[in-house]
Symmetry: C2
Subunit: 163 residues, 2 copies
DNA sequence: TATTGTTATACTCTATAACTATA
DNA sequence: TATAGTTATAGAGTATAACAATA
């Protein structure tokens, strides 16, 4: 209970001792996205399209609405993205024979190849950045980041609440 | 040179072993901002207004354009924000006697008081999240985050390049 | 003429609402 | 009638361009 202030960030005492998390994380996120952009451009992918490829690779999915929710996008927003990916034969979008309203979504072999190429390039860029951290901090940073980004109260925070 | 793959994220080998940094950091940033929102609302501040208060507190600043650049906002975007903060006497905005085109910006005592109250509340919320990390990871996470967010190639990445 | 701040305009992104087809 | 997907419309947020004041 009695940890020291340097560890916890002086909360109950006077002035804070570190910048707000959001003030560090949001700009960092923007910078990472900006760094990805040239790679995505080179492969003709938008961020949303890349996000779709990433998510379909993990789990083929049954409805577009479910996919949209999984990547935290509006269902109307991914339609043009799916149109494009399908026309380039990077994904399959087939009506479910058992309920022809729903579209079964999955990745093609070509789609998986592209996804791998892009992700490898992106993570190589990221590794260049991480390499500038002391090894101990880097490991802790990654562990902490992965732990935080899987906390349910963060991941689920934004659902369509009541009604 | 020969660190193992678990440490570095398998870059030159097959499939990546962790999610993309951006895929973890951007949603985390969104969640943190969403968590701040009720606190800001309670004090009648927008995120941009809070950002202005934060930055002026550290260093009183000479021109609005410089402030805008510092918080990575468009110079036209902060004008309404400054109007509001000035009318509530949270900041001062005085023409510089030596060059009456420029506005000298500084925080009032009331502005500092509000800033402290809001930041304390925000960081208390953040500490609740960080408390869920193992202590070792939390320290590494914070150190790594602070190191990354002060890297110049990230902070400066988006300047109005050439011309 | 160059620069600071401001206002007015246009554009991009996103969400809401209306529509089609299946059930 | 309810749901999946689509299309059309409107709104928020942002940047670009034109303007006024000062140097």
């Amino acid at each position: 209970m009695a940890e020291n202030a340097a560890d916890r960030g002086a909360t109950s005492e006077g002035r804070p001792t570190r910048p707000d998390l959001a003030a560090m994380i949001v700009p960092l996120g923007r910078a990472l996205v900006a760094a990805e952009q040239p790679i995505l451009d080179a492969h003709g992918l938008t961020m949303w399209a890349y996000s779709v490829l990433l998510h379909l690779d993990e789990t083929p999915i049954r409805t577009q609405a479910a996919l949209a929710e999984a990547i935290r996008a509006d269902k109307t927003r991914i339609i043009a993205v799916l149109d494009d990916l399908e026309s380039r034969e990077l994904i399959r979008r087939q009506p479910d024979p058992e309920d022809r309203r729903v579209r079964l979504l999955s990745l093609t072999a070509e789609g998986r190849r592209l996804r791998d190429a892009v992700q490898t390039a992106i993570q190589q860029g990221e590794e260049r950045l991480l390499a500038r951290l002391p090894a101990a901090d880097r490991a802790g940073f990654l562990k902490g980041l992965q732990a935080l980004s899987t906390l349910p109260e963060l991941t689920r925070g934004r659902g369509p609440s009541a009604s």
